[in-house]
Amino acid sequence: MITPKKNKGKYKTSIIVQLVTRMMCPFIIMFGVFLIVHGHLTPGGGFQGGVAIGASFILFALAFNRQDGRDAVPSFTLKCLASIGVYLYISIGLVGIFLGYHFLTNKAAAIAPTGMFGELLSGGTLFWINLGVGLTVAGICTEVFYAFLEEERSMYYLKNKKKLPYQRRWQDVDKDDSV
């Protein structure tokens, strides 16, 4: 079970919700990984599995605290996940060019793993492309959720006549602990 740190904020949910969330989050993540990895064998794929993984992060943040969710999956990690997914997709496409075929060639380029039909490591590039799309969608879902969750701070800035987040630099945001 995931054990979060002690809540820093005032937002609290009932202990039943917290316990069920702590038990279910690993299984939801595992189901998302299953959807991504078996994308070329069963219904599902990168988008659906990525959304399932992102939903588990969002559930964690909703059941506990925004800051607890941020501690579990930092913003930097999520941005890295999204970027790595897109770059994995593009680099898999470029392998086809380096082998002398078109961009994103699958069967003709014989990019590994081309195993037996119906096995896990079959389908050529589909496996890696599913992985890339899954990482991208998981990172983006959670990051955009947090961005919209923290958007309400802007009213605070308007009331106190401070600069809005997009008008400030990152150093100022890091220094400001009042919010």
Binding site: G45, S75, Y89, L104, S122, V137
Partner: protein, 116 residues
């Protein structure tokens, strides 16, 4: 002239779109070539220039049948949907992923989050 240019452009685009919509086939007709399909095995040796007009239309619309028959051999994937969106239309999915990524960059640059 600046006032009338949008109106002229609008009429041109609206007219062309209405013309296209009027030429649509009836939706859901079971006798449409897209639903009926087209047998590739009989006409493999026939060139497109030798076909009749009806056969050419059927040939163009029988993509679904081609996916059904040849996607496991072409891609090596059991799931036809994954084979279509990640292999036959991989460019489309690539642009989808980059559009999502760009949307995230836009949201973060406008709203902004703390680093942790």
């Amino acid at each position: 002239m600046k006032k009338f240019a949008p109106a002229i452009l609008f009429t041109i685009f609206a007219f062309s779109m209405i013309v296209v919509v009027l030429r649509f086939a009836p939706i859901g007709d079971p006798h449409l070539p897209g639903y009926a399909g087209f047998d590739h095995s009989e006409n493999t040796e026939k060139e497109i220039c030798e076909m009749t007009k009806k056969e050419v239309v059927q040939y163009a619309d029988s993509v679904a049948l081609h996916y059904n028959r040849h996607s496991p051999g072409d891609t090596g994937a059991l799931d036809i949907i994954t084979a279509i969106i990640f292999d036959y239309r991989a460019y489309d999915t690539l642009i989808e992923a980059t559009v999502l990524f760009t949307a995230m960059i836009g949201v973060l640059s406008i709203i902004g989050t703390k680093r942790n």
